[in-house]
Symmetry: C2
Subunit: 408 residues, 2 copies
């Protein structure tokens, strides 16, 4: 993480040689909502993906797995409004989407990453793609990243785009991405939909390794509601147009690349958690002083997954007993009698528990701290040096409202 980098605009098209578009092609009834994104690289890219571990998988996952099996891809097509999951003709639809990309962009159907997000088990046809693909392809441009980010949104309230610039062997590189939440978010090995592009040159094997490790530390530490989606996918395309020497093994360049990838993914996690369905607050839990990284991760993730804790944070209630309770059932092997807990926000810090027992604190200060829209729950385990962060959000009336009638 010593390599310098800085955030830049551009998201999914921040890297050289990528163009994107996003339009309404008729999958959704609401004509004002873009529902299909297309992203294309000027040249063939090393490609890596992580997929949901849910046994119920969207048909696009199977088609994408086949298409990137050789380590390369060049385009991404993704619709919102229908997950193309639990449909009898799902694979046919997903393959049809890839063929339409080939017809209108010249990218081979076998070099397309295909994804869908929306309602599960809803009939789907190729008709909107047949109608809309020509315009999607014609609209591709180097400034089209925001349209693509808008087109993949479901219940998200803001588009999620991040990019960074960094250098590899004196060459300026960019890496950016877009993602969508905002419910059914509890990644397991992969996550919701996230598409990443970079102009760095890196071999498919090293790209896969970097993505797998970064996903473990970012998207797999994110939860909105404990439900692992059927369509989760993170994919990254690297077209090498930055001109750096191709990364083919571990070393300083690989570390710099991974650090850039981590920054983009962590920032997207933060944005997705804060925009979780119905969320009014970003809740992070930072577990420090753990004996090992797995313990730190188990603790941090259990805390941000607790419905009770999430509801207390919505109410700005310093009910720290729920933090200890969630640590206790996390499965992590911790010494409860050593745990300290603080609530932290830009309004201040309030210590509520030392060595596993409650300590007196100002309820007024606690209310002020917890009334902010970004809260960190700092858990000190006092057992070692490892630490981890997990990202989540509060549980609100609006989560229930959104999900009480999602299909209509």
């Amino acid at each position: 993480m010593s390599e310098p980098f800085s955030f830049i605009p551009g998201g999914i098209v921040a890297a050289k040689g990528f163009q994107a578009s996003g339009e309404h092609i008729g999958i959704r009834k609401n004509r004002a909502k873009k529902d299909c994104a297309l992203i294309v690289s000027d040249t063939l890219c090393a490609a890596a993906c992580c997929y949901t571990q849910n046994l119920v998988k969207g048909a696009p996952i199977a088609v994408t797995q086949a298409n990137v099996a050789n380590g390369y891809a060049r385009a991404i097509i993704c619709n919102s409004g229908n997950a193309n999951t639990c449909n009898a003709n799902g694979v046919e639809i997903a393959e049809g989407m890839c063929k339409l990309v080939e017809q209108h962009t010249g990218v081979g159907a076998g070099d397309v990453i295909v994804a869908s997000t929306g309602v599960i088990g809803q009939e789907m046809t190729l008709a909107p793609f047949e109608t809309g693909m020509a315009s999607l392809a014609a609209s591709l441009r180097a400034e089209g990243g925001h349209d693509a980010a808008l087109a993949i949104m479901t219940t998200d309230t803001i588009a999620k785009e991040v990019a960074v610039t960094f250098t590899l062997g004196g060459k300026t590189c960019a890496l950016g991405g877009i993602s969508k939440g905002s419910g059914m978010i509890h990644p397991n090995m992969a996550t919701m939909l996230c598409f990443l592009t970079t102009d760095a040159a890196i071999s498919p094997a090293m790209l896969r390794a970097a993505l797998a490790q970064v996903v473990r530390d970012t998207f797999n530490m994110l939860s909105v509601d404990g439900d692992t989606s059927t369509n989760d996918m993170v994919s990254v395309l690297a077209n090498g147009m930055a001109g750096n020497a191709e990364i083919t093994e571990a070393g300083a360049d690989y570390d710099a690349f991974k650090a850039a990838l981590y920054q983009v993914c962590a920032q997207l996690c933060r944005m997705m958690a804060k925009d979780g369905e119905g969320a009014s607050k970003l809740i992070t839990c930072t577990a420090t002083g753990a004996r090992d990284i797995d313990t730190a991760k188990q603790v941090a993730k259990s805390v941000i997954c607790s419905n009770l804790l999430k509801a207390a944070m919505f109410g700005a209630d310093a009910n720290w007993g729920r933090v200890l309770c969630a640590i206790g059932y996390s499965g992590a092997d911790v010494d409860v009698q050593r745990i300290d807990v603080q609530f932290v926000s830009r309004a201040g810090v309030v210590s509520v528990c030392t060595a596993g027992s409650g300590i007196p604190f100002s309820e007024e200060l606690a209310k002020t701290v917890l009334s902010e829209d970004e809260i960190d729950i700092a858990v000190q385990l006092n057992a070692g040096e490892a630490q981890a962060t997990a990202w989540g959000c509060d549980l609100t009336y609006d989560y229930v409202k959104i999900n009480g009638d999602y299909r209509t």
Copy 2:
């Protein structure tokens, strides 16, 4: 399950030789709310308990474990309003409660099961018990079960009491109990608070075996919010006053006893799920056709734990994709392409998914079926003969409201 039994009134005092009381002794500020229950048997009882697996355990758990280590006990003391958990002097308080029971009832302090429920990490003193124990003891009576049931309630809206009568070797026996929910309910090997009594004669070893098995099939298949409490406990006292030959080994009598215990515990689960925090509906999931019982349990429990499914049920939205999604991430090894799903209530049955894919159904009928206050999600796995039921509830605005400001 062939032995006949029938439900009878009386709850925790339905069995011969048990008396109970419940009063306000000053733990809660609201004087109208009873906050301490006392249950005493005329004679020493075989005793068995299951405890929470949360690493953060209420102090009363440790004291109870010590007191029932010899297999016997005679009284139960339980307060609500304070969980006596994460308090520096917790064990001292719990032991003090037992000593006060001894002073005022003559039951040895080492024969007392002690439990507390309420806010975690809140300072607690013995003062209310010192003031109130005399009256609690003086109020003990064979009709006091309802008062005890009221006194252990926290956010419960109804008292939960169940009892059955059955026969062992020609002797009429009774078995009954009380329990409290209604949040932080996701039992793991044990559950919230449930106290059971019976006049059947059974050895401590067989009582423990029966309780362990029944808890696995009942309380461990119950979830309100996915949070395993720090104070969960199920305990049963058997005083033998029915006069049956003591059950000391497996056989017909043991099976009859276990069937009665199952009926009481399953009914209490149903009541707790329906009265889950903020719940407007009881949601059960019955998984049938599983290759084995563990698979059936994993599937049924995953479905009733899904926040997304729970919110959809609140909205009477037949979003069956969420049922398949929850099965898919349950960890159970199932063939998705064989799964059928139906929504069932007293208003009718609606089939929504066959062989893993959606089928056309009447949205109107689905709305009618799902607008009832007891919904069963019938999952047919078509892979074997095993089945299991899990009990849960919907996720509502009121759950968020209750837990947004629980401490005040």
